[in-house]
């Protein structure tokens, strides 16, 4: 929608302007922010109706809904920013039910003094992520908090999607004998963010893997509608996600370290910082647990999609009333891959 130039005396200064309290007040300034910034990028027929809600027809079958708050420092990092992350994160949570995402809602909490230019960059990046994914933001909200009471921008997104008939994916369906697959290399997002936060310069630039996975999921569900579990290993990484699934399903897991794809640059950065890549966040990877006979067709389908090119089987589900996730190390020993305690902290010496 092209803005109507006469409605506001002066256009928003998107180069040097900053967010102020009036932008959240519900008055003219807020209307202008929505029209000249948010609408500029996120425009679509439902959003343009400018109601406090979006009304749409519901397709038959099961719907899934997911919501996620996004807080990240720094807001911009190699391979993405909070805007694209807020889109990918929620689309992926919806997709992990095997669903095709339909619509997104977005809530913004802005800090007084935040540069409008940065906000425009973030919203443009959200729009690009939405376009690529074929999903629209159909309703939203904006609030402004006083300077010092926010971290620049917080974005909450909620997604709705539809599960194809016959698909029943859930974290409690892992069974002994099942195969554990991952869609690609682990730790890229967390290391990229940490490296830009701590101003560590590595020889190789490590980029976040932030991406929307629903197309990959659609390809997987097409060849194996009976997939047992899907989950994106975001915060807490592979280790935490597998511990969650083991607990939900009441099973153990046996992993093979040599089969787990990790990029050399990520492994080296982790080594330097004393971090374990198994615990580091991913934003464009999924873990799939499936019946053993589905593993090969699934790996083939995953590898023929760009986001699953490095897919691998990394282990299998075993019987274990204790619910331990174990790892056979590259070295030939065994160890537990436990839940993460607090945050991973870099080593001292």
């Amino acid at each position: 929608m092209s803005p109507q130039p006469k409605r506001f005396a002066q256009r928003l200064n998107l180069r040097e302007g900053t967010v102020d309290m009036t932008h959240g007040s519900g008055g003219r300034a807020m209307a202008q922010l929505i029209e000249e910034l948010f609408m500029q990028h996120l425009d679509n027929p439902l959003l343009r109706q400018a109601n406090d809600q979006a009304a749409f027809d519901v397709p038959a079958g099961r719907l899934v809904m997911s919501t996620d708050g996004h807080v990240i420092s720094p807001l911009f990092f190699p391979g993405g920013d909070i805007g694209s992350l807020a889109v990918h994160g929620t689309l992926n949570d919806v997709a992990m039910a095997g669903a095709r995402p339909l619509y997104l809602a977005a809530g913004f909490i802005l800090e007084e003094g935040f540069p409008l230019a940065d906000l425009a960059r973030i919203v443009a990046s959200m729009a690009a992520a939405c376009n690529k994914a074929g999903v629209a933001v159909v309703t939203g909200d904006t609030k402004v908090v006083e300077r010092g009471k926010g971290d620049g921008v917080f974005i909450t997104t909620t997604g709705v999607g539809r599960v194809p008939a016959g698909v029943n994916i859930s974290g409690d369906r892992a069974r002994p004998g099942d195969a554990i697959l991952v869609s690609g290399s682990l730790g890229d997002h967390g290391v990229a963010v940490m490296a830009s936060r701590e101003n560590l310069s590595f020889d190789t630039r490590i980029e976040s893997d932030s991406a929307a996975l629903h197309e990959l999921v659609a390809a997987m569900v097409a060849v194996a509608p009976g997939i047992h579990c899907l989950r994106d290993p975001t915060r807490g990484g592979l280790a935490t996600t597998l511990n969650e699934l083991a607990q939900q399903s009441g099973v153990g897991m046996q992993l093979e370290e040599t089969q787990i794809p990790i990029k050399p640059a990520v492994a080296a950065a982790c080594e330097l910082l004393g971090l374990d890549p198994l615990y580091i966040a991913n934003e464009g990877k999924l873990i799939c647990i499936c019946a053993a006979e589905d593993a090969e067709p699934l790996l083939e389908a995953m590898r023929s999609h760009p986001l699953g090119a490095d897919a691998a089987q990394i282990g299998q589900v075993i019987e274990d009333p204790q619910g331990f996730v174990r790892l056979r190390t590259a070295f030939g020993g065994q160890r537990v891959v436990d839940w993460l305690t607090g945050e991973q902290l870099p080593r001292i010496c």
Binding site: A267, D276, T341
Partner: protein
């Protein structure tokens, strides 16, 4: 990365394991103490114990800078943080419980300005960026982390950075080994040999260990932190034990020399001097075992700049950290292990630091206990 992979090759590990199996004499036990938490971590993370014959045992020592810090010093850090200044320190320390189950992390949640830094340089940046506030770097660590602290103090002095100071908790490895080997307590595990920390020796060299090996008749092998290093060093210790030798050997020849890094040592000597006595968690007060800031740098010494009440600190009742740090007990011997005390709710420092023995047992080795 190829560099890292070379030190984790499975075929080399199997070959070393066969060498060790052939070298050990049946009918005797080998108790090898790894002084440093870095080794403990490598042993658990790579499952090195699984590759050892059943009569080779690793005994976990005190060598984690967080683990050996007495509660009184943690209290001191918390008291400082509450004085409306910016307290900077390395990550692990934030979660260590002080007296009354408080910690720097809790003080931070209550409003104290506590910042986790990755290096002394980060702390200096914070001081430059906040000229109106006092910035204190709470420095901990063995000989490895001491040179960067010395550099920071020299820089602060050169720049006339009047709002920066440092609490020196730097401790000395050979003095601690002396503390462990000297007057062993009744019931103490016999230690047949020691793996020495390689990072420390890149600074101090191998020489300072020679009197220890001789006095206590224990072989010491300076070992790198890669799992293959640990295995190779273990084999070297086993050979010495078999032959009744007690020498200082160097497995980590790729970075360690006998005399160490002269430049770094000179830098440290310029800024720091021996502290007559320092309390270690588990080892008690040890003479000449730590450093303090020289009078020439007194203005940057937070212990002189701030009024710090020294209160007696209380150990957590039932926590066996002191015995574990001395190699007398194993984490699973502690009554609190895994019940009251877990990494999510640590009672003692051994469960806090990722390199602490209790945390390593819990995080990597728990299934062994459950199976037993």
């Amino acid at each position: 990365m190829k560099y890292i992979d070379d030190f984790r090759r499975n075929d080399l590990a199997q070959k070393l394991a066969r060498g060790i199996a052939a070298a050990v004499q049946p009918g005797r036990d080998y108790q090898l103490m790894e002084f440093c938490g870095g080794h403990t971590h490598a042993i658990f993370r790579y499952g090195v114990q699984d590759l050892m014959p059943s009569n080779v045992h690793y005994v976990h020592g005190p060598g984690c800078p967080v683990c050996v810090l007495p509660i009184g010093r943690v209290d001191l850090a918390i008291a400082l943080a509450r004085q409306n200044l910016i307290l900077c320190t390395y990550g692990d320390l934030l979660r260590v419980p002080g007296s009354g189950r408080t910690s720097l992390l809790k003080a931070k949640a209550e409003g104290a300005d506590v910042r986790m830094v990755y290096s002394t340089q980060d702390a200096l940046h914070i001081a430059r960026a906040n000229p109106q506030r006092q910035v204190v770097f709470f420095a901990i660590g063995f000989e490895t982390t001491t040179p960067p602290s010395a550099v920071a103090l020299k820089q602060a002095k050169a720049e006339g950075l009047s709002n920066f100071s440092l609490v020196c908790n730097h401790v000395l490895t050979p003095a601690a080994i002396h503390g462990i080997l000297h007057t062993p307590l009744p019931g103490q595990l016999a230690i047949d040999g020691l793996l020495g920390p390689s990072h420390v020796s890149t600074v101090i060299g191998t020489q300072p260990y020679v009197p220890l090996a001789q006095t206590y008749a224990k072989p010491i092998v300076i070992s790198g932190f890669e799992p293959l290093d640990v295995m190779q060093a273990s084999l070297m210790l086993i050979r010495q034990i078999n032959q009744g030798r007690h020498e200082v050997e160097n497995e980590y020849t790729r970075a360690v020399s006998a005399e160490g890094n002269r430049k770094a040592l000179a830098l440290v000597a310029e800024v720091f001097e021996l502290r007559p006595s320092f309390e270690w968690r588990g080892l008690g007060r040890l003479p000449d075992s730590a450093l303090q800031i020289r009078p020439e740098y007194a203005e940057f010494d937070a212990e002189r700049r701030f009024d710090l009440p020294q209160q007696p600190a209380e150990e957590v009742k039932g926590c066996d950290c002191p015995s574990i740090l001395r190699g007398i007990k194993r984490p699973s011997d502690c009554k609190l292990f895994g019940s009251v005390c877990t990494p999510d709710n640590p009672m003692g420092s051994c469960m806090v630091s990722s390199e602490g023995a209790c945390a390593a047992y819990w995080t990597y080795g728990r299934f062994r206990q459950e199976a037993a």
